[in-house]
């Protein structure tokens, strides 16, 4: 899998330490059956910052992201080595409740996936799952989440309409509101704008900036401009390996690896 590089900068130059790590990925390898999708990934994700994963498609970005909330558990034939620690404890610990982990680590998907329910029920769903029954509390949190997701003004008069009648950008913001409603610490976003037009993309990016102070966010993106616009740290993955990881500005201006440079200058990918 790993091609030897012409000149090999040492790890310190390629992968930076972060000031306050929330998630530590430790030597993580993952196989789908016989196919290896991640190869000894090892880095840390900082608290209350936006971290971007970039890389050509098929390099393992989504796979890595889905390890963080253990969504890969559902795939048959997945095997993992290494570990992921969140605030020091392993997310793969059989003792921990995976549903509580997923409550802490919310996720927004590449293709917006609102439930075939009303707008209100979409946001209230996670709350109901986690035992909120009081109508007042539900109303309050739904409103707050929709406001946080900058959607409230657009939908406040039609909360009972089907979520599937909204535009793509609205649906994606609804999915963000849905994730926010259960009060997560981390929000994972897997190419949240890939199906959206530039204006809707702009909305989502603004939204991310406004949420940055309160949440740790990890965004997978195909789009290097987006990564450089929104993220504080960027990880470049290539063929299942972590090639380079550092502050976004540094990665884009002074990449240490040839492969990173080739990728961000558009020579491949």
């Amino acid at each position: 899998m790993s091609e030897s590089e012409t000149q090999t900068p040492d790890r310190k130059e390629l992968i930076t330490e972060v000031p306050s790590a929330l998630v530590s990925i430790r030597n993580l390898s993952l196989w789908y059956g016989a196919k290896q999708a991640l190869d000894k990934i090892d880095f840390e994700i900082p608290r209350k910052k936006i971290t971007a994963f970039i890389g050509p498609s098929g390099c393992g970005k989504s796979t890595l992201l889905r390890c963080l909330n253990r969504l890969n558990d559902l795939v048959d034939g997945v095997r993992m080595e290494g570990d992921i620690l969140m605030e020091g404890s392993s997310v793969n610990d059989p003792e921990i409740d995976v549903n509580m982990l997923r409550k802490r680590v919310g996720m927004v998907f590449q293709k917006s996936n609102p439930f075939p329910k009303s707008i209100y029920e979409n946001v209230a769903y996670g709350l109901r799952i986690h035992g909120v029954t009081s109508r007042r509390e539900l109303d309050e949190i739904v409103e707050r989440s929709l406001k946080q997701a900058a959607l409230w003004d657009e939908v406040k008069d039609r909360l009972d309409d089907s979520a599937l009648g909204m535009s793509g950008g609205q649906q994606q913001r609804l999915c963000i509101a849905r994730a926010l409603a259960v009060d997560p610490e981390v929000i994972l976003l897997d190419e949240p704008c890939s199906a959206l037009d530039p204006i809707a993309t702009g909305h989502i990016e603004e939204l991310m900036q406004s949420l940055k102070d309160e949440y740790t966010m990890v965004i997978v993106t195909h789009n290097m401009q987006q990564a450089s616009r929104v993220s504080d740290y960027t990880a470049f993955l290539y063929l299942g390996e972590l090639v380079e990881y550092k502050e976004t500005e540094k990665l884009f201006l002074t990449p240490a690896s040839r492969r990173t440079e080739d990728y961000i200058t558009g020579r491949f990918g």
Binding site: N69, M107, N113, P116, G126, I129
Partner: protein, 527 residues
Amino acid sequence: MFTWLCGGALAVCVLLVLVLMGILAVNGFGYFWQKPVDLVVLDDGTALMGEIHDREEIDEGDGPTGRFRIRMKLGNRDLTGSDFRWIDQDRIVDQSRPADALVLERMEWGNFYGSPVELRRDGELLVAGVMDIRSTLPSLHRKKLALLADIHELETGAIGDVNYEIEERTRALRKLQLGGGDPTRSDASQAEIDARNRAYRQLAEQLSVFREELLRETLVMEAADGTRQEVPIGSIVRAIEPNSLDTGEAVSLYFSRIREFLLDDPREANTEGGIFPAIFGTVMMVFIMVFAVTPLGVLAAVYMREYAKQGWVIRAIRIAVNNLAGVPSIVFGVFGLGFFVYLVGGSIDRLFYAENLPAPTFGTGGILWGSLTLALLTVPVVIVATEEGLAAVPRSTREGSLALGATKFETTWKVVVPASAPGILTGIILAMARAAGEVAPLMIVGMVKLAPSLPLDHHFPFVHLERKFMHLGFHIYDVGFQSPNVEATKPLVFATALLLVVIVSLMNLVATWVRNRLRSKYASSAV
């Protein structure tokens, strides 16, 4: 060329359906329309009065003869023995429509055609002559109808209640005696039964007073051949002068007959009156079936699609389920008789209704067993449709729920199953359509030609699942092919068939409406 062939095939199918509906509609709706009454005199001097129903060319085996014959409904079954008669038109020497012709629809013996002669009270002359009878009869008849309603009220109300209480208490008493209970209690309940028996006798007396009152006045009628017949006013359903009806009267008569057909109990071995119990039985049977088949089918489908490992076992089961849909329905009937009626019903009787034995309660055909048998028959349809609905819910929707911390159970029941509701409803619609038209298996698990009481009434526990029930499909068969008077009931068969089609369509329409509402409310591109 091929397109034309396909289009042609479709056109033929549509045409056949339209012709079917057309025939049903014309014959069915025509049945309620009052025809004029003709007085016909034949060459031998015989006079006949009745409605002309058909006219056809006489065929003596070697081609058309150019001669015609007509079929007349003559009624007066108590005098002549048969309702209908074919008459060669050549033999008719005189034909007229007498203005005073009177048709009596009677509770018994069918219609009477003739002219009124006089009204009697207690055998004494009350009024005579057409004009006087015309002015007296309607109010007298209305009084009798009111009395009839009172009688009905008394029979089904007070007397029914007392009977029911006596039955219940007798059963309780027997239970007490079987269990060797203490004698003071059984004495007490015996006293209660006696009190109710006295109440019953009082009510019965009142009833016989009413009955006598009902038969006090009679109308003397003269048939076309001069025979006289005395008809008690209380036994007349309707008195019509068909040859002097104006349009308004004809129309209101038409609708009053349709109303009777839809809302009344049958009379005269189902050949007259209404078919309400059959409508009710059909609809209730289908409802119970839906209640049974929906959870069964949905649970099975959810297990097969969401939980089971998709190996050869599940594949084999899926094939078996699909084949189940192709098993002849009578086989399900036999199974229902053996399993539900004899095994389950018999066990229930031994456990809970021992005091009634050897008379069975659940150990005989009833609406519950009929519904469950049909639920079994239609469950493959629901399973297949539900599975399709579930399969159409995209993986991303499930992941969206799981990513919020929902368990698989919550995801399945709060997101996936609701999202496949349109698919599930499609299955239910198909199941209902199938079940409402199914007759064969029901014939051995509880359907009867005449049920003494509806399976739903005001006696606790209101729904009586053990009772036998009537069904439109069986009614058609019974009226059309098992009645002594097939000629007379042919139109009734059409009307009933039309009604069955209408009811099935109506239930489907409602279900489809619900589904479409669900769909448009939560329109998902995938479902």
